[in-house]
């Protein structure tokens, strides 16, 4: 008869917070896993153009990035305003590209080396001259899979 009433009387009013750290840790691990630490400081301004025929870049470890754009404000005094190439965290020329590619290639397991892609993050106002030089350097280095980084067109 008084079975239920008894129980109600016994239950403590406070919610146990013992599992709170576990929940937070779970969130923490999620963010730790998805975080890609920016290993390179951005030295050139890049605003990518819009496009519609986009392919998603899978497998971040198989992608290397080449930035082309005008130096950011604080480097304008030393590097001028002409478009520049940034490899990793420093300014470079197209002559440095083979070494840069080789460095990245050596970190990738041998059976996956054929799938290495180069993502070209090029500012939309840069002229094709410097881009053509980079493309020639990539072709000479045997890196033929390219991805012109672009934003999806807003509807």
């Amino acid at each position: 008869m008084s079975k239920f009433q008894k129980k109600r009387g016994k239950s403590s009013p406070a919610i146990s917070t013992a599992s709170l750290p576990d929940i937070i840790f779970m969130l923490l691990f999620f963010f730790m896993v998805v975080t890609v630490m920016r290993d390179s400081e951005k030295k050139v301004d890049v605003v990518t153009p819009y496009a519609t025929e986009l392919t998603k870049l899978e497998k971040k470890s198989l992608v290397n990035y080449i930035y082309i754009g005008r130096p950011v404000e604080k480097f304008k005094a030393t590097y001028g305003t002409k478009p520049r190439i940034q490899l990793g965290d420093k300014f470079a020329t197209e002559r440095d590209i083979p070494l840069f590619l080789e460095r990245h290639r050596s970190k990738v397991p041998e059976n996956q080396r054929g799938a290495i892609k180069t993502s070209l993050r090029v500012d939309q106002d840069v002229t094709m001259g410097i881009v053509a030089d980079v493309k020639t350097a990539l072709r000479k280095a045997g890196q033929l899979l390219l991805n012109y980084s672009a934003k999806p067109k807003p509807q």
Binding site: T17, A18, L20, P21, I24, F25, L27, L28, F31, M32, V34, T35, V36, M37, R38, T48, P49, A51, T52, E53, L54, T55, K56, L57, V63, K82, P83, K117, S119, L120, V122, D123, Q124, D125, V126, T127, M128, G129, V131, A132, K135, T136, L138, R139, K140, G142, L144, L145, L146, N147, Y148, S149, A150, K151, P152
Partner: protein, 184 residues
């Protein structure tokens, strides 16, 4: 007496109440530093490097869809000034040649898109042209896939995709840019 009571307190469990705070702190740190970058772009396969110039003179002119972009970002499509908005439709018509015209491609397999630009061409204009050509091909492939298998190209199986790809191959040839309009 007082000492004994403090030892008694030591026997208690470690207080785990601040664990959540520490975890929160780490969580917030990672929240701030995380950039979930969706890297998307136009995928391109470059031709391997060869020292001799490719000989395109042996191609029939009717099979070549030439697109020139000059340093002022103006288009010249098969010798005529054109607008970027018409490029996709023109390209589709050229490839499929639905009315079997004399001056358009004999067959989608033989069609070649040839692109040339100046060194002074804006990257944005170049990518726009490339994007339009790719869009033309992907629409044609979608049409072919719908006709044959009743579904879009991206939902086809590998074998179906391959058969469509061999019928409508994407061939874009890019010439070395001319030295014109390079900024200093």
């Amino acid at each position: 007496m007082a000492k004994k009571s403090s030892r008694d307190r030591l026997n208690n469990e470690v207080n785990a109440g601040s664990m959540a705070d520490i975890a929160f702190l780490l969580l917030i740190f990672f929240l701030v530093t995380t950039t979930i970058v969706e890297d998307k772009g136009v995928l391109v396969q470059l031709p391997p490097w060869s020292d001799e110039e490719p000989d395109i003179t042996k191609l029939k002119t009717r099979n070549v869809f030439s697109v020139l972009v000059n340093a002022n970002n103006e288009l010249l499509v098969r010798g005529e000034p054109k607008d970027i908005d018409d490029l996709k439709e023109d390209c589709k018509e050229f490839i499929m040649n639905p009315n079997k015209l004399e001056n358009l491609a004999e067959d989608p397999k033989k069609a070649i898109v040839s692109m040339k630009n100046d060194r002074g061409t804006k990257y944005k204009a170049y990518l726009e042209v490339y994007n339009e050509v790719k869009a033309a091909y992907s629409e044609l492939r979608d049409e072919a896939a719908n006709k044959r298998y009743g579904k879009d190209y991206q939902y086809c199986t590998k074998a179906e995709k391959r058969s469509i790809r061999t019928d409508i191959p994407l061939v874009i040839s890019e010439a070395e840019p001319t030295n014109f309009g390079e900024e200093n």
